[in-house]
């Protein structure tokens, strides 16, 4: 999922960088004081998740976990993902430094989306919580694949074919992440509900 150095053209990289900066600024502003530790924990999870791999065709795909990071953090997921991607790029040579902005957009935008779509479902019932987590995991990877296809479209001019290849390659990851996210949110709601930013939950307490 990480775009390497030298793949994309200057304008695409620059647009990515500007969007990522704007998102990071909004995210930093929106982080609650008490939420900062959660942001760090989830950023760490995202940082190491990419080390788990599934080989599919010529490409190699890995866990991303942007679904759970976004579901639990909302806009705060953007600075978390930016930090994690920067460290992955420097420490593990994943993705190019110049492509950092576009990589942040590809992985963080769907993360924010699933937060607003599925957070209201969490805590309604155990089944709904799992389903919300499962769909977050699937949809975040699906949207990230489409965004990656879109970013590559500017160089490849073949959006549907490229996107189809990326989505097909990520189907195993989608299912695995759906299950992981579903179980994680169900488990977290039981043992550490403070990490789930639910207004209704706070009222219940």
């Amino acid at each position: 999922m990480h775009i390497s150095e030298g793949v994309l053209s200057g304008p695409v990289l620059a647009s990515g960088a500007v969007l990522a900066m704007a998102g990071t600024a909004i995210g930093l502003k929106k982080i609650d004081y008490d939420q900062i530790v959660h942001v760090a924990i989830l950023a760490s999870a995202f940082f190491v998740a990419s080390l788990i791999h599934v080989n599919v065709g010529p490409a190699s795909v890995h866990l991303i976990l942007n679904g759970i990071v976004g579901l639990l953090l909302g806009f705060a997921a953007i600075p978390a993902i930016l930090t994690a991607l920067l460290l992955q790029s420097v420490f593990f040579q994943y993705g190019g430094l110049t492509a950092l902005g576009i990589n942040v957009v590809v992985m963080a935008a769907p993360a924010v989306l699933v937060h607003y779509l599925f957070l209201p479902l969490l805590g309604k019932s155990p089944t709904l919580t799992f389903v919300a987590g499962f769909l977050s995991g699937i949809l975040s990877i699906l949207c990230s694949s489409l965004l990656l296809g879109l970013a590559l479209w500017f160089t490849n001019k073949n959006f549907f074919e490229t996107s189809l290849v990326i989505i097909t390659a990520h189907i195993p990851v989608m299912i695995i992440e759906g299950i992981i996210t579903g179980f994680c949110v169900s488990f977290l709601l039981k043992v550490y509900p403070e990490i789930i930013p639910l207004k209704s939950y706070g009222e219940k307490k």
Partner: protein, 160 residues
Amino acid sequence: MSAQIKQIFILVFIFVMIPASFAFAHKVIIFAWVENGIIYTQSSFGSKRKAKNCVITVMDEKGVIVHKGQTDLEGNYSFKIPEKIDSDLILKLDAGTGHQAQWRIAKNELVTDPSTKDIQAAREEKEKLEESPSILKIIGGIGIIFMLALAVKFLKRKIS
């Protein structure tokens, strides 16, 4: 408070340490060397995971394509040095979906065969690139994330 710290430790363990035990690298590497007029290449995603059936494009310094080929199931590909080349060669590996890497062969390496010592040095460089990320780097990265979080916490407190 201590219960909260305990919970945070459990969380860090669940999220961080379990995935860390499955650690594999994910980067794109192409490595090339010249022997007896043939350019040999090896491509991988690091940690012995070969980049199979990936396109290799060979260009001169001006970006003119002088050769094209595809890696085999072992991630290897070799070809004769293209004729009438008077510049460094840039070998670009396209591993699909935004994954790309390149390796440069200097002009002088194309005319003289490198000594075994040179090949050995280049191989060591390649092996270093292919290494899995060490646990030290993983822990260091997590340390940096938490230090940044502390800095944000400090700034937020100062602002409010």
